[in-house]
């Protein structure tokens, strides 16, 4: 197998049994791969199953069916689930929409970033720790004056940077960013997205980047997957997906992205997708190299 594949998700299925009558198919036969140093953008509306994919990859629960391979090892094996979970805990890191809000309010920025470094013995000695914290802050665009600040003394965007510094300190092989900018102002979103791009280009991090709309995905992803009701609808290299969207749901999502052009917007027809027309047991068909459509 190609050793540059970091994450390989194969026919993943995740069901939640609510009661005797009701089972939710949160993920239904989803497959995709992420190569080292690339950003895979996973897009879908609320409830489409994006976070469930993230949690299953993280090993929070074993999949109902299908496999997750991480750096060539199958980590979804039910028998060895516990061991795998420990192995992935350090190598896969996640950033949430509210990671920033979840920072311990009684700890300084320096302590917040130092905590996982110490627990996991990533640095030895005080001096090295200080150096590491400084360089992590620098990587996320903060200067060392932030070290003594508390979370409520800094802005939402800065808190998200601290959460990112804490996460990259672990030097993970994969970073899952689950709607990391959804609760930030547009102007701050651009700052954080630029930061993710730098982390990829300059430091070679690999990302599973989750978003609920396509606008920002275009700038950040190498490959895009579009989800609806737990299924992948379309998957393609970013340029191809935006220039040649084929699935009607992808087209509907694209048409709904607001454009800052009033005359264009007033005349724009927003395409609708009727979920009833979604085939129950379709397949992902490769229509051109790397471009898959559910039909």
């Amino acid at each position: 197998m190609d050793s540059t594949i970091i994450l390989d998700v194969r026919h993943l299925q995740q069901e939640f049994h609510i009661n005797k009558e009701l089972t939710i198919k949160a993920i239904d036969d989803v497959s995709f791969t992420i190569e080292k140093g690339k950003i895979f953008g996973l897009v879908g509306e609320t409830g489409s199953g994006k976070s469930t994919i993230a949690r299953t990859v993280m090993g929070i629960y074993p999949p109902t069916n299908g496999e997750v391979h991480f750096k060539g090892n199958m980590i979804s094996n039910k028998k060895r689930f516990r061991d795998n979970k420990n192995y992935t805990r350090r190598n896969i890191q996640i950033i949430f929409q509210d990671s920033a809000a979840a920072l311990n309010p009684r700890m300084t920025v320096a302590k917040i970033i130092a905590e996982p470094l110490k627990i996991n013995n990533i640095v030895k000695g005080k001096k090295e720790l200080e150096k590491k914290i400084d360089s992590l802050l620098l990587q996320v665009g903060l200067d060392s004056s932030f070290k003594s600040k508390y979370p409520d003394e800094i802005s939402g965007g800065q808190r998200q940077r601290v959460a990112i510094a804490r996460c990259i300190g672990m030097e993970p092989d994969l970073i899952i960013a689950d709607e990391p900018i959804a609760s930030l102002d547009i102007s701050i979103q651009a700052q954080i997205v630029t930061l993710f791009q730098q982390l990829q280009r300059e430091y070679g991090f690999t990302f599973l980047f989750i978003a609920h709309d396509l606008s920002i995905i275009r700038f950040i992803s190498d490959t895009v997957g579009v989800m609806l009701h737990g299924k992948m609808m379309e998957m393609a290299p970013t340029k191809e997906l935006f220039e040649n969207p084929l699935h009607p749901y992808t087209k509907a999502l694209l048409s709904a992205v607001p454009v800052p052009d009033p005359i264009y917007e007033r005349n724009k027809e927003i395409l609708l997708y009727d979920v009833a027309s979604l085939p129950v047991d379709g397949d992902m068909i490769e229509v051109s190299p790397g471009h898959f459509v559910y039909q």
């Binding site: 102002d185 630029t194 992205v257 800052p260």
Partner: protein, 337 residues
């Protein structure tokens, strides 16, 4: 000429008394809204959009005060209206919708009943009539099967449907002005688009005037007739949607437009506005945006720019429009496509 504005703010300043001092949340705002018009107020968090709209509805806490200026609704000066008169006004003329529908909805009461109650509170009709009207309202806001859904509680509804219900409640009293404060911010884009179109449709059907608040300039392009851009409590640019989008004059407006992914050319980086809005405890002298403005002039740090008039309807408060200023062209990516 008789002033036909349905809402007019004149030199309005609002501040809060806090333990740390006076927060100047809204500073010298002049705005007007005509009948049937949709005015978008846009700016980053903390720029004063919510305080501005809530000051009209008089929903601000006791620590707030109107420092200066006047508020006119249908030509009547309501600046010093007491709660009793305001309650009347809120039932008949002014109405509002917030970002989170659950701030308005009661989770334990069926939707239909909540709308009916709100109609009974504001209108002299029988319970039967109110119920009929509530079903009409649900239809107006695009809820399918309103008779069936009438008896369901909010948790049976999706986020978008809840926001529609809140709109139904807000519109049930036939208001003349609707304040919609980030009503689509937490919704999916396809749902957001439907709510925007719904607001347009309601405006066309009822002639209501709307103040639509958002931090995202992209979102308002579809519905705004007029746009006011706020920064640090002040309106820094105002004009028709065409003027503000195709001929933006304030560097802050350039910044807001430039940060949008859809106005960025592929392969280029997003252009974010560096830094963040100032704390309004002690606003800087001069132009509050100067420290974040790559086009700032010396005078921006010292003296507040006046509102320069560009056309009959287009205004911007930036020294770049002074005849002594160097000529600065806005970033090209914002040109009309």
């Amino acid at each position: 000429m008789i002033n036909k504005a349905i809402l007019q703010l004149k030199n309005l300043s609002i501040s809060f008394d806090t333990p740390n001092g006076e927060v100047e949340a809204v500073r010298n705002v002049n705005l007007s809204l005509q009948k049937g018009e949709i005015l978008a107020i846009v700016g980053e968090s903390g720029c004063g959009k919510t305080v501005l709209s809530q000051s009209v509805l008089k929903l601000l806490p006791k620590t707030s005060n109107i420092k200066n200026g006047q508020i006119f609704v249908e030509g009547e000066d309501i600046t010093h209206y007491k709660e009793k008169k305001m309650r009347n006004l809120r039932g008949s003329v002014l109405s509002m919708v917030f970002q989170d529908p659950m701030t308005t909805l009661n989770p334990t009461i069926p939707i239909g009943k909540q709308i009916t109650e709100s109609i009974l509170k504001h209108k002299r009709v029988s319970r039967e009539e109110a119920k009929e009207r509530a079903i009409e309202m649900l239809e107006l806001v695009g809820i399918d099967d309103p008779i069936y859904r009438f008896n369901l509680q909010p948790h049976f509804f999706s986020g978008g449907m809840r926001q529609r219900c809140v709109l139904a409640i807000a519109l049930a009293s036939d208001p003349k002005i609707l304040f919609a404060d980030e009503p689509t911010t937490s919704l999916d884009v396809t749902v957001q688009a439907k709510i925007l179109d719904l607001l347009l449709d309601i405006r066309d059907k009822t002639g209501i005037s709307i103040v639509f608040i958002s931090h995202d300039l992209g979102v308002v392009a579809r519905i705004a007739d007029k746009v006011a851009v706020m920064y640090a409590g002040k309106v820094v640019e105002m004009g028709t949607a065409e003027e503000v989008f195709y001929d933006p004059c304030h560097p802050y407006t350039w910044g807001l437009l430039g940060a949008l992914p859809s106005s960025t050319i592929e392969g280029e980086n997003l252009k974010s506005i560096q830094g963040m809005p100032p704390v309004m405890l002690d606003p800087p002298p001069g132009d509050a945006f100067a420290v974040r403005n790559e086009y700032a002039l010396k005078i921006d740090y010292a003296e507040m720019p006046p509102m320069f008039q560009i056309t009959q309807t287009h205004f911007a408060a930036t020294w770049l429009l002074d005849e002594r200023a160097p000529i600065v062209k806005p970033p090209i990516s914002l040109k009309r496509r």
